[in-house]
Assembly symmetry: C2
Homo-oligomer: 247 residues x 2
Amino acid sequence: MMDNGMKLYVVGFGPGSANMMTLEAQTAILESDMVIGYTAYVDLIKPLFPGKIYNATGMRQEKDRVQMAFAAARQGQTVSLICSGDSVVYGMAGLVWECSEAYSEVEVIIVPGVTAALSGSAVLGAPLTNDFCVISLSDLLTPWEKIEKRLLGAAMADFVVALYNPASSKRQDYLARACDILLKHKSADTVCGIVRNIGRNGEERRILTLSELRETHVDMFTTVFIGCSETKVIQGKMVTPRGYKDV
Amino acid sequence: MMDNGMKLYVVGFGPGSANMMTLEAQTAILESDMVIGYTAYVDLIKPLFPGKIYNATGMRQEKDRVQMAFAAARQGQTVSLICSGDSVVYGMAGLVWECSEAYSEVEVIIVPGVTAALSGSAVLGAPLTNDFCVISLSDLLTPWEKIEKRLLGAAMADFVVALYNPASSKRQDYLARACDILLKHKSADTVCGIVRNIGRNGEERRILTLSELRETHVDMFTTVFIGCSETKVIQGKMVTPRGYKDV
């Protein structure tokens, strides 16, 4: 542990409401002089923690954000770099470690948070009560061929799948392409669920089959769940049993 | 929404410390008259929330616990059924929905929490900053053949893998068996990490290769992480990059 006061928290704040943050995440932001994040995330957090210095940058400026955070921490400010959901799962923590060698005097503390696979599950019922995969459909940073291979592996091994970034304005047909791959090894009747604006105003949920999902338009605020062969609908909820009932 | 006051919260309380619970989880337990859970979890939570009625039962008594919870809720008590980590991921939420049809007058509210894949990641560095799988090595409720198929699928598709329940007194060699399957498609040098007692007294972490992991003894308080082909060690941390640095 370093005690020079140079501290950088990488904070996963969950879906965006105060009650879905951990106390550790709240304490980190309260203790910070400066809060840095993607514009949309700063807009969510600013009203909850007034009186901080906020620095927001746009998408694709992740490296600038991390370097700004380290530079401020090195000047003696306590900094929170904020991520929605968890700070590791498609968050900034990996990049922070990649850049950390140039700022070794700064203490880095990773603060985990409730990622959309978990908060979305709670809305849908209990889709992830057995082995599961999390896959992002964004091919900005991962080649599409690798994403296809992971979808195919997940379908062959009968995992429940949570899809992040299922669409964007430039990737309108990616969810349909993903469904086509999953349909090679999963039944068209597989129970699926979509959740939009988890834990925020306008939260929406829908349960549907994999073949219906293939024809469904979703946006970047949506998380998609595809069941395994055991997933079923109980009382309108998407539920993957784990066998406890038969013990 | 029902308003008869019959409420059952299924609460994921995270690793066990108060500061890693969400405010929503804390509020649910504070609002409850009765808290029900597995003995070891009740021991963790009881000191944090004195003045509640606690009911603890042992392992393999999941169905009893759920029925006790529904019965108490139907009698007008507000009940929290508690799970470590998340309430859906290998938690009680699935079984609650399976039993819910007999208690349709009780309102069920699933409260998500920080599962060990996330809290363990924060301790190790950032292993899950790309697509990942969560697999339990317990074959109490899932046939070992199915677990093997998932390990193989995960290795073939180059996922990062988080292993839950990697061992028990009766399953001493399961981690070695899992490593043998992963080694069919992952390099012996693959970066791995183990975390024990996450967020609790005596927390331990270790970073090692997949071939070293194969020879390592772990217990049921341990979560195991196996990297993908891109995972590396940076400043003693296990980090899976996501390409932001090269943008």
